[in-house]
């Protein structure tokens, strides 16, 4: 059995990687042409630049060549993982920008996830244990409230309370542990809600399983039942939720990065879109596309390894 599975997994991975090449190509192409068709350019400024100087700048970046030539050159550079210089910040390359911004987004995403688990799992357990009781209804009400209030209300509210009134946490920027707290809570809140929901649903079911009843009948303590038996049984769906959640969190941090002025990749992306910094827009989109593809691949492989019933297609 094992012997046949291993090559299958590898074949599956190779297939998926090959399949994702056209996707990346598609993303690169669409993004490239969307941007070039749009009005405005990266060197627009409020104070007019003499046409001769503009021409010099354009030729410096090869923007004076036909679109198809630019496209071809772009693809060629892409093969060498060279995303080019930023037009807006020419003292840095797109690679520099991604290397600086992504770890920040990742750290924020992981902190948010940690918060989601720390809050979500106990909340789900409490609700399940009290199934249809007061605590359950209360938890569920909070959960629904959590889904219904957007991050851009939660974020400013937290800043207001904890930065401007209590002076506990800085209202923005990045670098110290205190600066991580408010953004991680803001970003993690909706996810803690998902976790709690998943946890509650599974736990309710697990608690009605025969082996739990048996344990109860044998006089095992309630806490021990929860901790030793039930929790293990209900954590699986939460674990499988983590894969897509990480990708979601990392891309979903755009708004939180904006609220707290965090120098993450999401904010670079939005800024560069507004300032027509073509190379940075293209670079970040491609980077995220690859990231998402990888995340999906890892999740799918994990499912297949964990659950032998799924066939490889």
């Amino acid at each position: 059995m094992r012997d046949r599975r291993k090559p299958a997994v590898i074949k599956f991975i190779i297939r998926r990687v090959l399949l994702s090449i056209p996707v990346i190509f598609m993303v690169a192409t669409t993004t490239f042409f969307i941007m070039r068709l749009a009005p405005g350019g990266p060197f627009m400024s409020e104070k007019a630049i003499p046409p001769e100087i503009m021409a010099n700048i354009q030729s410096k970046y090869g923007l004076d060549q036909p679109l198809l030539v630019q496209y071809g050159r772009y693809l060629r550079n892409l093969l060498h993982f060279d995303l080019g210089p930023s037009y807006k910040y020419p003292e840095r390359t797109v690679n520099d920008i991604i290397i600086a911004g992504f770890p920040v987004s990742l750290e924020l995403g992981l902190a948010a996830l940690l918060f989601a688990l720390v809050i979500g799992i106990p909340a789900g357990v409490i609700a399940a244990v009290n199934h249809r009781g007061l605590a359950d209804h209360l938890t569920m009400a909070v959960i629904f409230f959590g889904i219904s209030v957007p991050t851009f209300v939660v974020g400013p509210l937290l800043i207001f309370l904890f930065s401007l009134v209590l002076y506990w946490f800085p209202p923005g920027l990045w670098g110290s542990p205190e600066q991580l707290v408010l953004p991680a809570i803001t970003l993690g809140l909706p996810y803690s809600v998902y976790v709690a929901r998943l946890m509650r649903t599974e736990m309710v079911e697990v608690l009605e399983q025969d082996y739990i009843r048996t344990a109860r009948a044998e006089g095992v303590g309630e806490f021990r039942i929860l901790w030793k038996h039930a929790l293990n049984g209900s954590l699986l769906p939460v674990v499988s939720f983590l894969g897509p959640a990480v990708a979601d969190l990392v891309t979903g941090s755009i708004v939180v990065e904006k609220i707290f002025a965090i120098p993450g990749l999401g904010r670079y992306f939005v800024d560069s879109a507004f300032s027509r910094d073509y190379t940075v827009v293209l670079g970040t989109v491609l980077f995220y596309a690859i990231l998402l593809i990888l995340a999906n691949l890892v999740v799918d492989v994990a499912y297949r390894v964990l659950d032998p019933r799924i066939e490889y297609s």
Binding site: P39, G40, G41, F43, M44, S45, E46, K47, A48, I49, P50, P51, E52, I53, N56, I57, K60, P85, K88, Y89, P90, E91, R92, I97, A100, G101, P156, L157, I159, F160, L161, S163, L164, V165, Y167, P170, P171, G172, L173, W174, G175, K258, I259, F260, A261, P263, R267, Y268, D271, F274, S275, R276
Partner: protein, 550 residues
Amino acid sequence: MESVNKFILLLLAPSSVVLAACGPRSEYFGNVEPPAGNVFRFTVGAEPEYLDPGRSTALYDARVSVLLFEGLTAKDPRTLRPRPGVAERWDISEDGRTYTFHIRKNALWSDGHPVTAHDFVYSWTRVLDPKTGARYAGYLYAIANAEAFNQGKLKDAAQLGFRAIDDSTLEVRLNAPVPYFLYLTAFETYCPVPRRVLERYGDHWTDPSHIVTDGPFLLREHRPHDRLVLERNPSYWNAQELRIDRIIAYVVDDQYTATNMYEAGMVDWLPYGGGGIPPDFLPYMRGRFRDLKTFPLIATIYYDVNVARPPLNNPVVRRALSLAIDRREITDGLLRAGDLPASNFVPVGFPGYPAPPPPEYDPKRAAALLAEAGFPNGRGFPELEIVTPPDRRKVAEAMQQLWARNLNLHFSIHSEEFASFLKRAYSHDFDLASSRWIGDYLDPTTFTDLLESTNANNFSGWKNPDYDRLVAQARLELDPVRRLNQLHEAETLMLAQAPVIPFYTMAANELVKPYVRGIYPATWDVLPLNFVSIDHQWRAHAGQKEAGRD
């Protein structure tokens, strides 16, 4: 009303806590605890595009460049007028066209090399070299042959109007007597850059590990989109003038975040353009907090009228539109940010330039003019479009209302994100465009040049030979009084034709913590921070006369 208010506070329980905690009457906005240590923290605004002074263009670039680099002249940290910088003195020829700068012996680069006249020859040639693609190369066009060289018509750099007579003497020849040339030499584009470092590291020479500078502060750390950390430069020739050891410039482009950081006590100064104060806050803050400083900038907010499109091609219509605006209602009713209503294009504040008359407002005459132009009570007038960037949308909405009320004219508003707005403005694709002009130096030509037929920023498309002639005459005029009169005559002529409809002179609103000393109103350029200091015992000194502005 009172009880409804309470109800809302209950709904937003956290904010009610806040309002109670802040107390209704605090003299200052937020936390007033000085920073530990001799450090000064401010917000620089958006991430600087270039630290390289020769290529920098934006306000936030300049905020950092002014700390790192110094030109032949330097901006006075109190008045912004030119004072000796790297050059300790200069001679000006009788015809006002040749400047000879004498560079001081103790001007050093941060790597220990002396700053020489050759550094300037190299740096200015680089800015003008078409291959550099410096966007503000135009600032050097005052120099003989600079324009031709920059545009590739002249290949020989030796013919440029500047040369190093020896290591410490630089001679500059100008095309015309430029009375504000010493302002220009203090400008970033004219600052020297270290040739050896540029040649070694290329575009990455401004990385903190490579950069070599000649200004009052050194770049220690640069975290993009987060902060720049600077330290006092001990080898700066005027180092004994500096009072602060360390500067942290935070990169924040969001107004709310910047203001929150100030309120929370993370920064000591929220300069104009450094993220900025949200306009909604200003009416509430003005007159309430002593740390809010308001002063007029040399900057005008106005509408460009597309003179090619009927019925706007008729000057009578344009005059009617201008006369029908109650500018005071916009500045004092809507914005309440300290802006000065003005129907003149050249703002107040230019020494020797005639002060503008009070803003015009005459709805009756406006209606009469409109009728004269063939649109009695707005009948038959097409619906025109105002194009505006998002941050000036509010003004456009007020304008819409005023023109509907006073002339029965109906305008639609199209708010375009800034890059698209500029694209439309440059291609004259608008009826009315909401524009802004911030002067570059303390001379009215920074405004009057704008409406010359050939100026690329003349979005209205207005061309007038008489105006062009007057401005050209003034350019060659050596007598300062006659020169300013010619410029004023040109402006008067232009306003009668109304290709632009000025609204107000823009005010800057800044926040400065009460413990900060040495911050002064900077009305057209960025402020050097040489005089800045932190008074840790400010509460004890509070009784004494407060230093700084007001």
